[in-house]
Chain length 276, copies 2
């Protein structure tokens, strides 16, 4: 490496490109640097070294390996980034929320991050803790958890399938693959729980299944988008995530976040039981 990168993105590219040719400690620090650019920008070598759990000399060697004079020289790159990042943020605030001047795919990004943030704020404000506790309790105690959701909701279901399995909770996708939905749902027993997810326009078959399971008296936790949803009235606990604005900006961000909360909530409960 002869010539030092002079922008942050050049530096990350360089690190990524030469990563494999680096030695053990240099790799370790490279990873740290990419994940902690703020620290690199502000702290002293000694402090950075402590946080990255390497020797200060390693950091200087790292810097030299990428063509810098030393740590301070490299640090400039991280500092510049911090300032520029920051000023671009201010500019966006300045041009209000509609982000004038950004169009095409850039405005799409702005819009979705913005509505995503809004919907997370709504999620936090509108989700009753009692419901969360109830749902977590039901799911934790279930012999099997059956995951029901089609179309948009299938993303949420698949996340739950993965995450619950990690917690050693027995769960099965009722995704209707190969036309087996009926069979999959017939296996729900009285000690099981159904976790159903569905948004407008509610897939009829999902609504039917929920109704059926409800009649059988099975426990149902549902994530949906309105108290008027066919899922809401039939469920033991239902979370209604208001999507707010128009259909064009309906986002899965809040449902995914809620799903994650449920999983971690269960995880905590299980931990507590183990330690006690």
């Amino acid at each position: 490496m002869e010539i030092a990168p002079d922008t942050y993105s050049e530096l990350t590219s360089s690190i990524a490109a030469e990563y494999e040719s680096l030695s053990r400690q240099l790799k370790k620090f490279g990873r740290f640097a990419l994940d902690n650019s703020d620290t690199l920008a502000l702290e002293t070598v000694t402090t950075v070294a402590e946080k990255a759990d390497v020797q200060p000399s390693t950091i200087v060697r790292f810097a030299k390996a990428f063509g810098f004079d030393g740590f301070s020289d490299m640090q400039q790159v991280f500092r510049t980034r911090l300032v520029e990042n920051n000023s671009s943020y201010r500019e966006r605030i300045h041009s209000l929320q509609n982000d004038e001047g950004r169009d095409g795919v850039a405005s799409v990004l702005d819009n979705f991050t913005h509505t995503g943030i809004e919907s997370l704020e709504q999620l936090k404000l509108n989700t009753p803790v009692a419901k969360l506790n109830q749902a977590v309790e039901i799911l934790k105690n279930a012999r099997h958890v059956h995951l029901l959701g089609h179309r948009r909701a299938s993303a949420v279901i698949h996340y739950l399938h993965y995450a619950l399995s990690q917690l050693d909770i027995s769960c099965m996708l009722a995704d209707g693959a190969s036309g087996m939905l009926q069979h999959q749902m017939n296996r729900v027993g009285p000690e099981d729980a159904v976790l159903a997810v569905s948004f407008t326009p509610y897939t009829p078959v999902v609504a039917e299944m929920v109704a059926l399971q409800s009649e059988k008296g099975h426990k149902i936790v549902s994530i949906t988008d309105s108290p008027l949803s066919p899922l809401a009235s039939r469920s033991t606990v239902s979370f209604e995530i208001q999507d707010g604005r128009d259909q064009a900006f309906r986002t899965l961000v809040a449902p995914i976040c809620l799903a994650q909360c449920l999983v971690v909530g269960i995880g905590q409960l299980l931990e507590n039981e183990q330690t006690s």
Copy 2:
């Protein structure tokens, strides 16, 4: 002044409040400090002194007048501002995190909504529009889009599968169901594109598949979490979503949002073509 402000906004208020009672040089520097917070955060006393056209000792006296130990102590306030401003942490924290005393599943909700918001802000700030355009272009022009992702990433893949299908884009899940991954990937042709999603710890088989497809010269768009990811180097376009903090709070919120941006970006392009 007895107690030092510990946030930037507190400091500005203090300066404003006591401005009139300050001496000539202290006023001069106070004004400079308010107008050049970046300089204050990054440069040394000597440098700041030169730029502000005062003596270093003046700056130290200024700092002490506002209750700090000295320059370094005061500088911390400017530095934390630089970092926190980046995620507009301060503003959001007021609306979100005031809920101390919430514990159990309530604090889980608070934490995840909070980190979700942070990661969406990071997404918006750190996603180069050029990459977005490039990715959208590739996916739109592909004969078939092959969706590759396991474990946590499968949620993203399933969302994409649903959403791209809605746009009448031919896409196929390469989810490795029934051990068919190899076959599924063999069907990728030169006019196709692969959309791969993977996060730490990268599923080896996914990384292998991406490497293989890359060698064949096929177009690959990837969503991952670090420039050092095995996906990043092998892809035509790769989005690296910094997860920031510790594993416990890794969230799918940003990847899902990005996926949605890609889909809508493609949708817009298709619309424009129809109308023209």
